[in-house]
Symmetry: C2
Subunit: 350 residues, 2 copies
Amino acid sequence: MKPQSSISRRFLLSTMAVLPALSAPLLPIPAAAQTATMADPLPSWNDGAAKQTIIEFVQATTTQGRPTFVPPERRIATFDQDGTLWVEHPMYSQVVYCLDRVPAVVAKKPELKNVEPFKTVLSGNREAMAKLSMQDLEKILFATLTGMPVEEFNAEVKKWTESAKDPRWKRPYTELTYLPMQEVLRYMRANGYKTYIVTGGGQDFVRVYAEQVYGIPPEQVVGTAGGTKYGYAKDGKPFLTKEPKLLLNDNNAGKAEGIHLMIGRRPYAAFGNSPGDRQMLEYTWAGDGARLAMLVLHDDGKREYAYGPAQGLPNTKVGAFTPSLYDEAKKKGWTVISMKNDWRRIFAFE
Amino acid sequence: MKPQSSISRRFLLSTMAVLPALSAPLLPIPAAAQTATMADPLPSWNDGAAKQTIIEFVQATTTQGRPTFVPPERRIATFDQDGTLWVEHPMYSQVVYCLDRVPAVVAKKPELKNVEPFKTVLSGNREAMAKLSMQDLEKILFATLTGMPVEEFNAEVKKWTESAKDPRWKRPYTELTYLPMQEVLRYMRANGYKTYIVTGGGQDFVRVYAEQVYGIPPEQVVGTAGGTKYGYAKDGKPFLTKEPKLLLNDNNAGKAEGIHLMIGRRPYAAFGNSPGDRQMLEYTWAGDGARLAMLVLHDDGKREYAYGPAQGLPNTKVGAFTPSLYDEAKKKGWTVISMKNDWRRIFAFE
């Protein structure tokens, strides 16, 4: 297991979620495109066990007459986001968003200017920011993710995703999605699966861009969620304000609980990459019939990042799945996806 | 407004939800049936303002080129259940379920046999049961709706809905759905709307039968929801236990907040019948473009029940919408559906 401080930090960082901008729209593919998909539904994957497992699972659950056939209405597939559908390194995009929002928050509340942790964030000193305590981070998350009307928050996130860029690739964060996983999303949808994001990140944050980036509508995004408060504007119009009240911490056991709360059915397929996904994978795998549980292994330091078990290190970075989860995967028959070996291409822009 | 005690009671009764059995499966209608629907999509409705309003709304939002056109992915319609989709009198079906479950709970925990309120419920004395306090009811709800694995709860509800019968009509509760509203559900789905139940009743309870009874899958049922707790059985299999912890009270402002939490989009159409639906209707109505807000008025004492403003009485029974909501509806242009005048047939079995 990770050192407690690291786990708590990850918990906290993802307690409320935030993210990126609009690359090429990837909406559910039209009927015409499905023929091409059927030829090779996963062209960015190298031939191998991982690709084969996905294809065999889809065939097993969608072919009429097979004992493993699953009726269309029960076809649910869940995907972790950070580190599974897109890059999570060196920092969750939502945390970048929160830090980027601090100047605007301080402009509205000048009394925060000389108060920590806002003072440190405003200084731009990365080294000092990396040393912020959990309590400090919590203050930043609450100040930047709550207290405003839902519509205002959505507009801010949208604006940010359209302008902010990842420093390594110099592209909007929304372009840093993994092409092979986009292919899996489309392949499963083409076969009647409802695809859900089940993220430790903030539900409201991810919902802003999920439809454009992944073809996943807001109602199919389950994430860490806070409460809202219904009220009326001066003109009598009702609106919802985001409250600093945690309803669902969609990490670890919270992922299985969140799936029950928001979907109400056990998934047939689940994809993750870190210890926070363990229970979602276990819960999915424990169902009857054919089930698919897959872990993305970050072992490609050249094209993306290498961390966690790929380095032979147990607890090196946020988002790694620990050797114990890696071992559980091997023992149970879950499939580990090697980014280095299984993915021919990683990004669409390459 | 209702006397506070009545409101609180309603709140409590619906704090966790429960319901009925399997009448004719009403799944999304196949393409072949849609032609008939197009001839008259609402054959159980009399011609009049209510029917016309529904049809005009659907045409306004689904006809390409109209300024009020709504893209398919944004077509969300929400329906209260009790008193809107089916009979809520003289008692919510879920409350009947909870009372019916008491003997089984006591059989497992014999120490409750001589403890109130279980003793009174076991006596079968209806008059004494009607006098149970809110605290008593709360104990019954918690004892019968929480503390068991999700699968066990689902199986119990399914069994009950297949056997329990309403005393007036001598039919399973699930047959007491309003045929005109079933037609609205199918008509809207045939026109690309995603139909949701947004109920003060228990989310887990309604999800058990909603697909079979209304053609609405579990993931499109939003209701009063409690937490679950992830754990492992002796054989290592994970399972979820229903906890006595309220996450969402899906009544009043909670309906608008619940829609944001579970769907993340503002509905274009909403149907309700009681003060608990007020905020859902307001929130829906406050959106841009064409919106539909409708209230079912229970004014048919012969074929169903008459209560609330239909009797000229402000606060007669649970589930009535008060004159003030009735007035708000008239003032804002919401459409009131008269069961007596607008509905040619009320039940499919008639």
